[in-house]
């Protein structure tokens, strides 16, 4: 009896679980590879023989890029993501540093105040954002600049929504860093801003990178806000554009173009993952363990 139990507990069940995990891995890789291959195939052959392979057909990319305006949307995605993440880092890093290192009484409550934002779902601000962005746009057009772009509203909303996570995680991270360096810098007579930029930022680079990359992934893939804030299809980002394209598929049947669109949306994140994957996965507990 004991040996039977041993057999199952030590060999059979662990092996079965390993097999399940490998199936999971294989499934992911097959889907990824198949999507990539499909994007290089003609629409008709893809429909009639989805698992087959025929020559390299970049027509799908040409159609998606030009006719489907994925070029414009890729640019929108890149610009809004870059601007949002730049804004998030520029605001959150100094704030987190000050909150982590200051001995002021208000530091702890302010950290809690930021952390409270983690409990707020994006749904809570969806309708306010929708109406406020219309008002903001009207206000800017009438009184300030004479023009406005819904993509700027999107960036502002992205930054505001991402600050709780960034500030909170980075505060924990800055606390974990050694204090000697900045003390030395202070003795040298460096000002606060110089100490921060020239001493703390280089030291904190690993944590800052992880937070930035996590935000890039989240904002690049973001859909709900884009759909609510941006009406003009020319100004929308890739996820919104792709879902629009896939909705019209039953009329156009441009499957090659659709898969090209999928790859255009996914490929930058996969490249990012090759670069930073290890760091992202190790950094998931950044705020917890430190």
């Amino acid at each position: 009896m004991r040996t039977v139990g041993r057999y199952f507990g030590d060999i059979a069940i662990p092996r079965a679980i390993k097999a399940v995990l490998w199936v999971f891995v294989a499934f992911n890789l097959v889907i990824l590879g198949w999507t990539l291959l499909s994007s290089f195939r003609g629409s008709r052959s893809l429909w009639t023989d989805p698992l087959g392979a025929d020559g390299l057909n970049v027509g799908g990319y040409a159609r998606a890029w030009h006719a489907g305006d994925f070029a414009g949307m890729a640019l929108n995605s890149a610009l809004t993501t870059a601007a949002s993440v730049a804004g998030i880092m520029a605001l959150s890093a100094p704030a987190a540093y000050a909150l982590a290192r200051s001995r002021r009484r208000s530091a702890a409550p302010v950290v809690t105040y930021f952390a409270a934002g983690l409990a707020l779902p994006v749904q809570a601000v969806l309708i306010p954002y929708q109406t406020l962005s219309i008002k903001l746009s009207q206000f800017m057009v009438d009184w300030v600049t004479g023009w406005w772009d819904a993509r700027i509203s999107l960036v502002i909303c992205n930054v505001a929504l991402s600050l709780p996570f960034a500030v909170f995680v980075l505060t924990g991270y800055f606390r974990s860093l050694p204090t000697e360096l900045e003390e030395a810098a202070a003795l040298d007579g460096a000002g606060s801003l110089r100490t921060f930029l020239q001493v703390m930022v280089p030291v904190a680079r690993p944590g800052l990178t992880i937070v930035a990359v996590l935000n890039v992934i989240g904002i690049w893939n973001e859909l709900l806000l884009v759909m609510v804030l941006i009406d003009d299809p020319k100004k929308q980002t890739l996820p919104a554009g792709l879902s629009q394209l896939s909705s019209t598929m039953q009329y156009t049947s441009d499957w090659g173009g659709l898969f090209a669109g999928v790859v255009i949306l996914v490929a930058p994140m996969i490249l990012l993952f090759f670069w930073f994957g290890r760091k992202i996965m190790d950094g998931m507990t950044l705020g917890i363990s430190k």
Partner: protein
């Protein structure tokens, strides 16, 4: 993705803050962070307050109104919108769907994660497995929904494979209303389990190796090692993961759109609570009901907060029992 930290570190932050306070009284000189405190902290606090906190307060105010958007009349209706949410059958169905994702999807995700915790520690190619299962988490759910939607077409790969292996009876039009939600739940499990596997594995990796060696010497099988070592020692991380899962899965949105597209409206069978809420804002669907949508959003916020408080209470009392 958001907030792997909320639960845990908040009390830590408080404690750390409290611990630094006496330092000032001891008369230590002000550091650079003290001198720049306002300048550094204020911009972020301002953007967060004006861009997130105040709009959500505005949302709560709107939830007591009847309103179809700028240019139309705003009317105070008291609790009417909230009463309507509880009486609305489509909302109830959408909320039911969301609960199915939370419970059934959660069971799937955590079953996979526990499996990984039991074997991944000493598995060959573990770094590769970890990366490959994590991969879907960084990919847009719209892209996933589009690819899978093509596979699940009536004449798509899934049905062809079923035909090929002789399982004609299992052939379905998967994206029809009666089956689509099952596909969505499976899609959620597939997409998100990688995050939780990686999160829980970071905790498993922190368990000292010698415990497992001793367990082996005492004759514990691998499954017993999981039960007596890995699971209890990862308990804190598991409760964090459970909180994260609940909070995030209550907001499930993208994957539904990925499967159903944005043209027209998702069928009621496929809607989650977040999708239903979004539809109240959408002028393509009908007259926007911004007050009603705000009431739904406020209820979601309240539910999230209640759950967070409950879980925190529970995990606290557990720890007391252990110590």
């Amino acid at each position: 993705m958001l907030s792997p930290t909320a639960e845990r570190t908040a009390p830590v932050a408080d404690r750390a803050g409290a611990a630094t306070r006496p330092a000032r009284r001891r008369g230590t000189s002000e550091g650079p962070a003290d001198r720049a405190y306002r300048r550094f902290m204020f911009p972020a606090a301002l953007v967060y307050t004006a861009g997130f906190v105040l709009p959500s307060v505005y949302g709560v105010v709107l939830s007591f109104m009847k309103w179809s958007g700028p240019g139309t009349e705003q009317k105070w209706v008291g609790w009417h919108n909230y009463v309507r949410v509880f009486r609305d059958d489509t909302v109830r169905q959408a909320f039911g769907n969301t609960l199915v994702i939370v419970v059934v999807g959660g069971a799937g995700v955590f079953a996979l994660a526990f499996c990984a915790m039991a074997v991944l520690r000493e598995m060959r190619g573990r770094a590769f497995v970890r990366a490959a299962v994590y991969l879907p988490s960084i990919i847009s759910m719209i892209a996933i929904g589009t690819s899978l939607g093509f596979l699940l077409n009536p004449d798509g790969v899934v049905n062809r494979l079923l035909r090929f292996v002789g399982l004609h009876t299992l052939e379905r039009s998967w994206l029809e209303p009666q089956h689509i939600f099952g596909c969505i739940v499976l899609g959620v499990i597939w997409m998100t389990s990688g995050t939780y596997i990686v999160l829980l594995m970071t905790s498993v990796d922190g368990i000292p190796q010698h415990l497992y060696e001793e367990a082996k010497l005492t004759g514990l099988t691998r499954l017993q090692q999981f039960r007596h070592i890995t699971f209890p020692l990862s308990r804190d991380m598991i409760s964090i993961a459970a909180v994260l899962w609940t909070v995030n899965s209550l907001r499930t949105f993208d994957i539904v759109i990925g499967f159903t597209g944005t043209a027209g409206t998702p069928t009621p069978e496929a809607r989650t609570y977040a999708v239903q809420q979004w539809m109240t804002t959408n002028s393509q669907v009908g007259i926007p009901e911004l007050g009603y949508g705000s009431a739904m959003a406020t209820l979601l916020t309240v539910l999230t907060i209640v759950l967070l408080v409950l879980v925190r209470r529970m995990s606290r009392s557990e720890r007391l029992e252990i110590s």
